[in-house]
Amino acid sequence: MGSLQYVRMVLWSFFGIRRRARADAELGRVKPLPLLLTAIVLAGVFVTLLLGAAHWAAAATPVRVDGSMAQRVQACTACHGAADRTTRQGYFPRIAGKPQGYLFQQLRHFRDGRREHAGMAHLLAQMPDAYLADIAAHFAALDAPPPVPTPPGPDGERGEALATRGDPIVGLPACVSCHGTALTGLAPAVPGLLGLPRDYLVAQIGAWKTGRRHATAPDCMATIAQRLSVEDIDAVSAWLASRPVPPGHAPAGRPDAGTPACGSTR
């Protein structure tokens, strides 16, 4: 019996199905040792081929560059995901679906030092306005589900009053007077105030109050934050975070003439 026949037998056995008569006929003639050796060698070849193919497939999978904005801005989405995220590095708000003009202004503020974040400043340092506008447009066009509202806290009434009517005694305008009657913002540059966690709102209003966050003059929010007491910041933030985001939560469109003349919107 030739070695080729051993190979044929082993390969048939790999296949697993064979006509019984032929198998019995061959089985009568084989010596066990050569068969075993052939089987081991062939099994080795088979496994090597499989592993090689897998390795080749992994190594040869070319990196796909599709030219999409999503692929260009992976440096942004590594932190700013579909939802707000709190990590040991800090809090990363979701930026998807926020008004384009607002996002554009914030990118400029981070680049130029009116908002301080070392990581953001590093990423944006070598970007002219044109690319910042492209990035803002990309994220504004995305949609992200709003987070679940949280309880309004013990000062809910005060918070609601501040948000919807303001406080004429200390000269505080109502949130709704600039951020839209539904508080979902106004295109192109006024951000919505719903769907934001309480901690984020407290931190941002606090940053305006302490001067860590700026806009170009007139810096309306800085003026407003100066007049807010710590208790009021807490009350209004808690109340805003307790409001569900209405369906169709995109920022309301309004002619540019109606946008408040604050530095943050230009």
């Binding site: 190594a59 796909r64 030092g113 070598q126």
Partner: protein, 413 residues
């Protein structure tokens, strides 16, 4: 007894005063050489445009503009190991800028490092390089600066520590490191090579970063651009020579080449300066750079521990392979290759650690108006993980650079 002390004290004071005056005269503290009063050419539009181009080549705006500030109004702090020097206002404002300067003052500042009143300027202003700039180019630069709208922006005093804040210290520094005057032509070299040398060694002041600084902040090894750690920035400026000419040209013009992407301080240089240069000038720079000595091949580094490499390989597959490929070949210019990337395999691992921890976008250039960005991994990987993945990329696909330890990562961050 008392008298003896008084006499001795007076003698000490007197000899110190004498030494100071000798030093002041000998080191020419007040600039005794006469100003070059040759009348500058008429500041027409062509001269101003030429000056604007030269200002790009020198990246004047890079230092003389605070973050988010008006261009050329100064205010950016240049951090040095001796304190911070704030770049002054270059607009023609009479009180705070160059309003009262003449072309002669400007020429002297560029070629001799002196302010309008003759006082020595800090070498944070790279006049040891600008001394190579021709009078004609200085006049063009001055005409351009005069054409800017004057802005009142008071200059900030430097925070240099004693004695580095004294004129005497600056004079001593000059005696060691400053050789005034334009570079002599080298026979047998082409006009293109000379133009390249003029841009690289003069206005471009490339070796201000691409050299090792000694303890006094002076360029070591006679100022040869053999690469060095940029003081206070924690990025390693690689040796200027030895690059593949086409890749160097692509990097200077577009910020990304087939071999790598400009990151950190070099991204800023490309963004504000080299991307705006003409093709001919970039070619000239490349023609000069290619003949500069390359870095000596690093000593063969020991292979890292197998467990570290295995850990690095796993992390690489999770976080890096999608863009840089399982084979480390990437997809340039969007995703730079890591195999054979000189920034990855440099002797010091500073740049690869910086790139992984802080991420960054390639600079925006006409060639790449919407560059790709690398995410920062400082918040995702701890020091040991970052060291493992950095070690893996430095020792895979034919790369044979040294391993990176968690301590290296901590030191760089």
């Amino acid at each position: 007894m008392m008298m003896k002390h008084v006499i001795r004290g007076t003698l000490v004071v007197a000899s110190l005063a004498l030494a100071w005056s000798v030093a002041a005269v000998g080191l020419d503290l007040r600039g005794s050489r006469p100003l070059d009063d040759t009348p500058p050419p008429a500041a027409d539009a062509a001269l101003v445009a030429r000056g604007a181009y030269l200002a790009r080549a020198g990246n004047c705006v890079g230092c003389h503009t605070a973050r988010g500030g008006t261009e050329y109004t100064g205010g950016r702090g240049i951090e040095t190991p001796f304190g911070t020097v704030y770049a002054p206002n270059l607009t023609p404002d009479a009180d705070t800028g160059l309003g009262t300067w003449t072309a002669a003052h400007f020429r002297r500042a560029m070629s001799d490092g002196r302010s309008r009143d003759g006082r020595l300027l800090s070498p944070a202003f790279p006049y040891p390089h600008f001394t190579h700039v021709t009078r004609g180019d200085n006049d063009a630069l001055f005409a351009f600066l005069r054409s800017l709208p004057p802005v009142h922006a008071p200059n900030r005093a430097s925070t240099l520590r004693f004695p580095f804040d004294t004129q005497l210290a600056l004079a001593v520094w000059r005696a060691f490191y400053f050789r005034p005057g334009e570079a002599a032509p080298e026979p047998g070299r082409s006009a293109e090579w000379h133009r390249g040398r003029y841009l690289v060694d003069g206005l471009g002041h490339c070796a201000a970063c691409h050299t090792t600084r000694d303890a006094l902040g002076g360029p070591g090894f006679g100022g040869a651009p053999g690469g060095g750690l940029i003081p206070m920035e924690n990025w390693y400026a690689p040796p200027l020579g030895g690059g593949d000419p086409a890749s160097v040209a692509a990097l200077l013009t577009g910020g990304a080449s087939a071999h790598g992407t400009a990151m950190g301080p070099m991204a800023e240089v490309v963004f504000r300066s080299t991307a705006h240069l003409t093709k001919a000038d970039v070619a000239a720079m490349v023609s000069y750079l290619k003949d500069l000595p390359a870095a000596p091949p690093p000593a063969p580094a020991g292979r890292a521990d197998a467990t570290v490499l295995g850990r690095g390989a796993k992390l690489y597959e999770t976080h890096c392979a999608d863009c840089h490929g399982a084979d480390g070949r990437g997809a340039a210019p969007a995703f730079p290759p890591l195999a054979g990337n000189p920034s990855v395999t440099l002797g010091p691992a500073t740049n690869v650690i910086q790139a992984i921890s802080r991420g960054g976008f390639a600079p925006v250039t006409t060639m790449h108006p919407q560059p790709y960005g690398m995410p920062p991994f400082a918040g995702v990987l701890d020091e040991a993980e970052l060291a493992a993945v950095a070690t893996y990329v430095r020792q895979s696909w034919g790369n044979e650079a040294g391993a990176v330890s968690a301590l290296d990562v901590l030191r760089t961050r």
